[in-house]
């Protein structure tokens, strides 16, 4: 950074000249300077150590999760866990395939609902609605982005689940309820990030397209959205990460039965809810199986993160 270049004064020169200068005064000055230098170095190292804490935390987290979660893969068998259909931890079957499937289905469903509605809302706020309206709506969306997920889950339990029950029967606790409530939950994230990236598209693109005779709507779909695509993709991947990682809101509405769902109206259990529900009382191999669930989740998230980073880097190159 700029300071680095500026502060590289020729300290070695002042040291040399100090050696030749025999007056006491400059000797004291020199000592102070050295003392200052030492203090500066110590504090710089404190700053460095602080930033190493992130690395250390990540390493410890990874080690502890993998250490506790990978042994069971060798004891029970990798395929018996990943592709096992039955989760009966007290009887020794630890199949988590139904939960992997439920997590994937919930994530895909959530993303479809959240992205289609959220992206259109972002277009509305950035391009179509009057400025004053956007000014009122934006703080409301920020507020909703900050509301704890458990509040969404509670709303889902009280409102969405009974609606599904009365329309389709079956109690209402279902994959569909989880998808709807998570879809609503990720809307604020998608809207605010997509809106920002739509707004950052250079005005010339829009003006050029309009000048060529395209209508405003055509310009939005054929010029502006393609130009903002890396930011939009980043918001989608971020939303997917939130959907696959969400726990409490899902537990409240999905029913938590560890079985293979046959339809959207079936009860199911995700990877996250499996951990949260059983961690409190699990012992021994059962606990290890829950950590194995954590390992699978961790791997999913890592893949999503890598994808996200690629998009962010691309977005950085574009602008």
């Amino acid at each position: 950074m700029s300071i680095n270049e500026i502060t590289e004064h020729p300290d070695s020169n002042s040291l040399k000249s100090g050696l030749y200068n025999k007056t006491v005064k400059s000797d004291v000055k020199l000592k102070n300077k050295i003392k200052n230098n030492i203090v500066e170095k110590i504090i710089e190292n404190i700053f460095l150590l602080s930033s190493l804490i992130s690395i250390i935390s990540l390493i410890i987290i990874t080690i502890f999760i993998f250490l506790n979660g990978s042994a069971i893969f060798f004891k029970v068998g990798f395929t018996d866990i990943i592709f096992g259909m039955e989760w009966k931890p007290l009887e020794g079957s630890f199949g988590i395939f139904p939960m992997i499937l439920a997590s994937v289905l919930v994530t895909i469903g959530t993303t479809i609902i959240g992205v289609s509605i959220g992206l259109m809302t972002a277009v509305l706020l950035a391009e179509i609605s009057p400025k004053n309206l956007s000014k009122i709506i934006r703080p409301a969306i920020d507020l909703l982005a900050g509301i704890p997920s458990v509040v969404y889950g509670f709303f889902g339990l009280i409102v969405i689940v009974p609606i599904i029950d009365s329309k389709f029967g079956g109690g209402g606790n279902s994959l569909l309820a989880a998808i709807i409530i998570l879809g609503i939950m990720i809307l604020p994230t998608i809207v605010s990030i997509s809106e920002t990236s739509i707004r950052s598209v250079p005005k010339e693109y829009k003006e050029g397209s309009l000048a060529l005779g395209a209508s405003h709507i055509e310009t939005i779909f054929k010029v502006i959205l393609p130009a903002a695509k890396s930011g939009i993709f980043a918001s989608i991947v971020l939303a997917m990460g939130r959907a696959i990682g969400e726990t409490m809101a899902v537990i409240l509405v999905i029913g938590n039965t560890p079985q293979l769902p046959n339809s959207l109206f079936d009860r199911a259990r995700t990877l996250t809810s499996n951990i949260a529900i059983e961690m409190g009382y699990a012992q021994g191999l059962h606990q290890e199986a829950l950590f194995a669930t954590g390992v699978v989740l961790f791997v999913f998230i890592m893949i999503l993160n890598i994808i996200l980073n690629v998009f962010i880097r691309k977005a950085g190159e574009c602008t």
Partner: protein, 279 residues
């Protein structure tokens, strides 16, 4: 003819956009009004300030637990976060070290809270033998909010004009003096913002706290005591299904807290934009 089809297409798409926007706004407004309308009637001083014991179903212990966890986490994570941000912006040089730190921060940010909970449970609760305690919860949350604090503080430090630094150095100040007396004071609103953002995340967190701080509803005696935060309380109330009125009231308090936090960050953001325009 062709023009007509284009016009119809435009109108259809525009209608779809408006419908989607109205769905978003409608649903979000529905959640807010529904929760608050149902919660406000149960919200009384008695509910807020009484304990949770016997027939008393107050939430005062939960409020205290939440405050304790917020304070502890902020005290732990803020200095570390600010120091790291200073290192990253002012000292670090491009290289392997820097990209490793960046990678760690990005990854920590993406890890879901249940994994933090799992880690806190096995590391702080079991391995370090803190048992279910406010301290274990706060330490877990501190790691969780660290990326937020570092990133927001970094942004704040980056907005301090280079000319400020150059001026200070030209006057003979050392690099450290420049950082403490010139850079940090100009970045204070942004740093404050990062702390408030992380408070919002801590208040709203459920999964990680539930697995590390436990769910005891007593008044906490020390930071080694287990305690239930407001969000965990809402989860338990909703899950047990015993009293939805209390759940609505708790949800309302959470929403009000978030609203206050957003109001403060909004004010700070306004101050930041004013001061940068002024310079």
């Amino acid at each position: 003819m062709h023009l007509k089809i284009r016009k119809i297409k435009d109108t259809i798409l525009k209608t779809i956009i408006w419908i989607c926007g109205l769905i978003t706004i409608g649903i979000l407004a529905w959640i807010l009004t529904y929760t608050i309308a149902n919660g406000i009637s149960h919200l009384s001083l008695n509910f807020i300030f009484s304990e949770f014991k016997g027939d008393k179903h107050g939430i005062f212990p939960m409020i205290l637990n939440t405050i304790y966890i917020v304070l502890l986490s902020v005290v732990i994570s803020t200095p570390i976060g600010i120091f790291s941000a200073i290192y990253l912006v002012e000292y670090s040089k491009p290289g392997k070290m820097l990209s490793m730190i960046r990678f760690a921060i990005e990854t920590l940010q993406g890890i879901p809270s249940i994994i933090y909970g799992l880690f806190g449970f096995i590391f702080f609760v079991t391995f370090m033998q803190f048992s279910f305690s406010l301290l274990a919860g706060a330490l877990t949350l501190s790691i969780m909010v660290l990326p937020t604090i570092i990133r927001t503080t970094e942004e704040a430090l980056k907005t301090v004009p280079t000319s400020y630094r150059e001026g200070s150095l030209a006057l003979g100040a050392t690099k450290l003096q420049t950082i403490i007396k010139v850079v940090l004071p100009s970045a204070i609103p942004g740093i404050l913002n990062s702390v408030i953002l992380s408070i919002g995340r801590i208040v709203g967190e459920t999964a990680a706290v539930y697995l590390t701080a436990g769910m005891v509803t007593r008044f906490p005696q020390s930071i080694m005591d287990s305690g239930r935060t407001l969000s965990v309380h809402l989860y338990v109330l909703a899950n047990e299904g015993l009293s939805f009125e209390e759940a609505f009231a708790t949800a309302t308090i959470l929403i009000i807290t978030v609203a206050i936090i957003n109001l403060i960050t909004g004010l700070i953001a306004k101050r930041i934009s004013k001061s940068t325009v002024g310079s």
